[in-house]
Symmetry: C2
Amino acid sequence: MPIRDVIEKALAEGRTALTAPEGRELCLAYGIATPGEGLATSADEAERLAGEIGFPVVLKIVSPDILHKTDAGGVLVGLKTAEDVREGYDRILANALAYNPDAKIDGIQVQQLVGGGHEVIVGAVTDPTFGKVIAFGLGGVLVEVLKDVTFRLAPLSGDDALGMLDDIRAAEVLRGARGAEPANREALAALIERVGRLVTDIPEIVEIDLNPVFADANGAVAADVRVLIGQPQPEVSRLPREEILRQMTRIFKPRSVAVIGASAETGKIGNSVMRNLINGGYKGQIYPINPKADEIMGLKAYKSVADVPGDVDVAVFAIPAKFVAPALEEVGEKGAAGAIMIPSGFAETGNVEGQKEIVEIARRHGVRMLGPNIYGYYYTPENLCATFCTPYDVRGSVALTSQSGGIGMAILGFSRTTKMGVSAIVGVGNKADVDEDDLLTFFEQDENTKAVAMHLEDLKDGRGFVDAARRVVKEKPVIVLKAGRTAMGARAAGSHTGALAGDDKVYDDILRQAGVVRAPGLNDMLEYARALPILPAPKGENVVIITGAGGSGVLLSDAIVDAGLTLMDIPDDLDAAFRAYIPPFGAAGNPIDITGGEPPSTYENTVRLGLADERIHALVLGYWHTIVTPPMVFAELIARVVAEERAKGNVKPVVASLAGDTEVEEASEYLFEHGVVAYPYTTEKPVAVLGAKYRWARAAGLLS
Amino acid sequence: MPIRDVIEKALAEGRTALTAPEGRELCLAYGIATPGEGLATSADEAERLAGEIGFPVVLKIVSPDILHKTDAGGVLVGLKTAEDVREGYDRILANALAYNPDAKIDGIQVQQLVGGGHEVIVGAVTDPTFGKVIAFGLGGVLVEVLKDVTFRLAPLSGDDALGMLDDIRAAEVLRGARGAEPANREALAALIERVGRLVTDIPEIVEIDLNPVFADANGAVAADVRVLIGQPQPEVSRLPREEILRQMTRIFKPRSVAVIGASAETGKIGNSVMRNLINGGYKGQIYPINPKADEIMGLKAYKSVADVPGDVDVAVFAIPAKFVAPALEEVGEKGAAGAIMIPSGFAETGNVEGQKEIVEIARRHGVRMLGPNIYGYYYTPENLCATFCTPYDVRGSVALTSQSGGIGMAILGFSRTTKMGVSAIVGVGNKADVDEDDLLTFFEQDENTKAVAMHLEDLKDGRGFVDAARRVVKEKPVIVLKAGRTAMGARAAGSHTGALAGDDKVYDDILRQAGVVRAPGLNDMLEYARALPILPAPKGENVVIITGAGGSGVLLSDAIVDAGLTLMDIPDDLDAAFRAYIPPFGAAGNPIDITGGEPPSTYENTVRLGLADERIHALVLGYWHTIVTPPMVFAELIARVVAEERAKGNVKPVVASLAGDTEVEEASEYLFEHGVVAYPYTTEKPVAVLGAKYRWARAAGLLS
């Protein structure tokens, strides 16, 4: 295949870039249009080529030794006559030799001058996390100053490529804003898709820039192509899904747990782990391992895991780092599925070699290792608290994971104070082995988990994560708090984990493409985790606000726009139906302002109508504390109406903002417990949560 | 003055726009450069003018009957020869008459062709809230698609105009990004400043567009000028500041309060008001007014306020709307300073006339009216709860106001649950008379108020507000929650209050220019109100994060960037000083990661160093719950160290994010009570609050 020959020749020559004609060959092979051109090795030939291509033309030096052609005086633009071309040929040659007398000159490229329509940039980079990533943006100020660019994983479908055109802020421009000629969207998308194919087929392409591409009503032509080459990234080895699932199931539902370093001494990690396992009510076998004890907390202790009579599914490590390796060998020989590696003192303290060593041992034995440098993990359906932190047993349907122990503790405290039921809380720490995609593979099929929330600072295998997330998202929301969002944040991530955090825009676009709901901050992640499993999925985009406080209605409307939601345009008949229930000076439309002094029946009638009318898909309630309808009266009423309508099949997400004196706190809690996501003193939070649910529902294809 | 003649002639002719030559005259009079040009009434004259101006030139039809010249075929661009100009003259004339055979043709303008440098737009509009407002942006896609534009009140100083150049997202472009020629910033700012003067001097200019203005290294030339004219907005009448202050002082510190409609019957508004006044501990005279009672709650009642023996400073109205007018006449005759108009049933229910009537009565008597349609007001230093809501008595230094009753109730509930001390809570409702600027005038000099937080949906007198806010901000933060931020939100505001809400970008830029701290949502406003008075003002931009949880450090860094703060670049000597206190595998730099297992002394040493070193201006702490340093140990330690360092003169804002089990809630409260703004389960909120404090400190000129 000639294209492979081009690449291999260039690499063999020790080059890190292709020449322009080589780049053009690549484009031709993939159906990417480039301007008419040819290589001239004499002024005569240049004149002849220009005549064939058609004036005006551009002349460019072609030399493997001259990368920055303009700096070398190697480019002339807009030559209109044969005379100009002849003169230009000689001038460029002289400039180039003056710039670098030793340059090997292959000739001078004669190229059609293009420049109509829109100037866009299409490119691809090799991202350390995600591999080949395609970039698209409008040329000039928009990309270079305003960073108006969007990214996708390569390869990508034509539809994904079309989506990129709409994903930039200046998307209107390509549709012909300001009377400009619209671009041929299909042609441009096809070009993007072909670049995706090109960089996927040829992993040696480290970077490619098609800049500018001129896109007009007829098509898209790449006026300049720059290709950087190098050795391809090593392939990431992945275990088969069945294998991951088998081991993860043994880890989350173990028949037996060994505690390496179990201790009877209060304050020791090995003691906390033992207490949490026993007091948490874990029903499987617990094997304390301690060379100096015969019995710990009423259970027979073993000198070594090798001495344990039965099988060991999980070994929880509660010993100093320096003792881990030999103990892990024994755990491996015992055939355990999981090593819960609590000890710190590995890569996070600079002990990279020590971490490599234990990874090698675990891999050799087929043991999956969680950590090191973690608090452990909880799995409430099995009453499993394999952690040295405080125990937690409120069962629920969200699984949370964190890369940092501090964030894990925040998850625990938040869960306890809000009574958030969880299926699992998992620390992943240094992620030397088990990564978020392994956990997603388990949670995907775990009947106890209805939503997943993950705090992460980096991804070891971005594509593995995207693949897993895409599968899970079809069934359950995946919420991600990606720390190190900003340039400064990323720098901090670097100093903390040694991981090279990718540029946030790449993460943002690709996580969105994977259907993940990204939380902007820690508290948002926690609130989404708490609320998403209890909200039913919406079936359409029509959101209606019903409010007793006009002031809340305005703020809720603001929040609706911020959350990317749509205030329903209420049809006349529905408007009339609402009006029948509210005072004449109340406002129908949307928000529906029932006004402040209304009795419970007005809330009931309007909310029931909102739930029953099938054109409405979600309700946002604004409550205003009055003597006529006190907070708990409102809460019980709404809980009852929502339950009654759900029983009739009118299942819709309902969120509420409660404005009032402190009784609204109890009312909000009551509503939450009854499936209505409610918050006091904020109009933003309930709507943000509804927005998160919608983002998932759209990604899962439930709204179309 | 010829300019006034131009305007008056155009208005006299019933025109709503000036002709291009008239617009040019305006520009010339104000030193705004326009291209060389002249009016030709024959092809010969056009040729002569073009020769004088210099080729290439532009030809444009001049006719009061043709506003859209291009549509009429009335513009030809880039004519390079005398021949072209002659032909062009005839062609335009023919096109124009074909477009509108009845058009009066004044001639054809011959204009220098400009087009070098950057294309920018300078304009002014008459905003319903703020009056003359100047707009600036970069031409083309940036303004029209990305809405990259910034606004200021006119007139404005040259410095403010320079600030506009930096306030657009694409600001770099004018500084010469991507190798372009930088614009002459002073010349462009001067042009903007002159437009500000022009529209201020000539109120009949409803709108002016200088579009495009070409700005290059030499200067700025307005290539096209469009001026719309009309009758000027009526002047807003304002009371003298001393007069406002005198009345407001009587309202907030009254010697006597009459309750119009006082009642002994529980559940009545007039009863709630009486109870709150008495039980709240108000020490002045309370006069119940009720035609049917002799005594209410142990106080002598009067048939009418006219019967009250002493002076009445404030009358609280607790009677239906229809009885208000005659009672207000009596209150006016009695010489009261304030009428607290609780009753609803005025403009908000469509009773605009009824509202006008009571405003007229109040104005006639010099009574300042709060409301109507409000919950009343609280002023804790006087133990004054003149409201029908629940009483509130926690004294503190923030004054809060709300335009909506629902938001007022949220303020009350939030205050109670967080023990937020307040100086005042004030409902402004329909704002028929007393507006935010009146309240600011009082709070400005009120020694009991150290910060002001205002929820508002509209401003009756935008300039009055800006003037008052600018004064107050020099001494105290002014926090504003502007509801109706978004297009959808603004629509809802319209339906709620009948007020025409301005475009949010205008509000946003002008509030910022006034030095106001804008809160993005209700909960943010409440948290800023609670936290800003207890945080000392920072003296510089160097923020340092000290964290026990690396994971929190990354999230706090993200939050720092989001909040517009600056992570200090730590000098080597300071870095070494911090390193001396933390484990070798901890990270110095910034964040300073002291690592998770550290004892209290590590927190103490590092925080003390952070407070003592004068190069550091603010601290953000990340706490991670461990057995070694439990939450309350951390809280007491930090409170003590902060107090000790403050006693030594090291007064700096300190905020903290606490990650841990539920004990961190109590620890956060303790810290808050001791002057450290602390929150559990969130890394965003403490930093957002610090960011708000910084925004104020910058506006107050404390950082420079």
